[in-house]
Amino acid sequence: MDADRTQRGDAGWARSRFDGSAVLVALGGRWTLAHARSLEETLGRVDTRGAKALRVDFGDVAAIDTGGAWLLHRQILRWQEAGAEIGLVRASHSQTALLDRMSIEGESRPSLARPSEGAIRELLIRTGEATVEIGREAYALLSFVGAVFSAWGRAWRRPGRIRLTSTVFHIERIGIDALPIMGLLAYLIGVVLAFQGADQLRQYGAEVFTINLLGVSILREIGVLITAIMVAGRTGSAFAAEIGTMKVNQEVDAMRTIGLDPMETLVMPRLFALAIALPLLVFFANAMALAGGATMVIVGLDLSLPQFFEQLASAVTFPTFLIGLIKAPVFAVLIGMVACYEGLKVSGSAESVGIHTTRSVVKSIFLVIVFDAGFSVFFSRIGL
């Protein structure tokens, strides 16, 4: 009889004893996950001399959990594969029950990872999917635009169904709440423009034309563009996230079952509110940007306020002012539509809300700039 003593102490240990052809493997100590590494080694070192009959003795096992039981189960399987008969000795009812649970039912072991194709195939698949997705996306957005217009038509025929409270509430959020940040932003941009303009024009002794530069660029382009971008970031994202979260909570489904049209209750008030609030915000931003420019011009170029207005009046005509303002409702509808569309496209998870909120901001800013370029070309063609 000889003993092969492996690890002892707190961690579990295993010891084999030979008695003729029968082998007894005595286990003891703590067979727990915390000792998994040493247990794995311990089991690897147990010498059975290829015995055909193995008895595993649980008498000294202080504790066993799933980790220990699994390692033991795995080892027992190996011994069985080597042709040994296994018997359990002095195992308590709960210990055998735990060991029994280790056999993973059915021998099939499908991968636990998400199935994946090869890298190149994956790349091709993704490219293809993305291409198809762009087409599908354009189609879906177009049909959403159609749905919005038909809802708009319905609203005209039955003005009583326009949600006035909701619209006013959104006007406050989009417009009034944005005044401080919008004002500050526009004012600073006015200052920057005037500063840079004056610097360049001074080289020709034409500082006074800084005011022309200010008037035209702010009223035609900068004011409306900055406001639209700000609103896309501030309000568009809020719309997409709000509607998206309602979608996740099944509130949108609940609305449909009650007979409320999400188009009418969620989308239209937001669009109306944007179409009203954005032009007003643009007007405010124009005024603030000019005020910023005026401050800079008066302080930096030693001009008086009346001189500033005189020069401004000579540089800017009413159509200039109108050209900037007329773009505002168009941008408003763009931002609102994209935001609501992305919000309604949210499905399932919190992650999806994030994705669609980001997309709504990126898309609406992109579309705003594309449309602005279109407007520029159009206005220059018709000679304005």
């Binding site: 996950l33 959990d65 709960s94 029950a97 649970r101 993973i104 072991r109 499908p110």
Partner: protein
């Protein structure tokens, strides 16, 4: 008898001027299944959150496995957390990860086992909670409610905790699924010698697997066996057990479990 796994002493919970718990005492013994019941708004979930250390109590002490979680810093809390498993109501699986990755998280956080062994253990846990191996590669959104609960349970028992917390384990399951889930909990509790604390509304669950019942009543708690609680003279308790659902549950298959005493 060994020390209780959870000891709550004189717990006071307040939200503003509203007092939810006023001197709640509760002990959970090693190896028992304790069910917490109570009407809506009696603070079952808050009690659970307090025991888990997610919320600091306004008064009193909460000890889990002999340690007061509220008084520990993050580093000292970790070994205690490792010995607790929680199944939240809808599983609270991380939605961006697969089921297998969800179960792997506790291993990655608390152990330094090699990847292969953890994978094998994940397979064992999946089998233990009765999920097919294929479920491991799915993300939670692709699973049914019952499967999500099982997956959540697999994550909760990943590290063989001493205490398992269940928040309404059978809510949202059909009666057959609920009965199976009860059976699963009882089964696992025995196989892994768990102490289980669960919040439940389900009278069937109470009768089938709870060793003791704690009822939240009038800002206090009353603890006892099923028979003791049933005999407790309080209108809410009477209504709870004598309503049509309560009666059906008790005349149904209540099994007293002779071999439960050793745990």
């Amino acid at each position: 008898m060994s020390a209780p796994v959870i000891r709550v002493r004189g717990l006071v919970t307040r939200f503003g001027a509203q007092t939810i718990h006023d001197g709640v005492d509760l002990e959970v013994r090693r190896g028992e299944i304790l069910a917490i019941v109570g009407g809506s708004g009696t603070g079952k979930s808050v009690l659970l959150r307090t025991i888990l250390g997610l919320k600091a109590p306004e008064g009193g002490t909460v000890e889990v496995l002999g340690r007061n979680l509220a008084g520990l810093d993050d580093e000292a809390r970790r070994p205690v957390l490792k010995r607790m498993g929680v199944l939240f109501q809808d599983g609270a699986l991380f939605s961006a990860r697969t089921v297998a990755q969800n179960i792997r998280l506790p291993f990655a956080e608390h152990t330094d086992l090699d990847h292969r062994l953890v994978t094998q253990l994940i397979r064992v846990k999946l089998a233990m909670v009765g999920l097919p191996q294929e479920a491991g590669a799915k993300i939670p959104a692709e699973l049914s409610g019952g499967m999500r609960k099982r997956a959540g349970l697999a994550r909760a028992i990943a590290l063989d905790p001493d205490v398992l917390f269940l928040d309404e384990p059978t809510a949202g399951l059909d009666p057959i699924g609920a009965a199976k889930f009860d059976e699963l909990i009882r089964d696992l509790q025995r196989a892994l010698s768990l102490s289980v604390v669960m919040i439940t509304h389900d009278v069937d669950t109470l009768c089938a697997i709870a060793d003791r019942i704690a009822v939240l009543l009038d800002k206090k708690i009353v603890v006892g066996t099923l028979d003791e609680i049933r005999a407790y003279p309080h209108p809410w308790v009477r209504e709870y057990f004598s309503g049509p659902r309560g009666r059906a549950a008790q005349t149904g298959h209540y099994e007293p479990d002779p071999d439960r005493k050793d745990a």
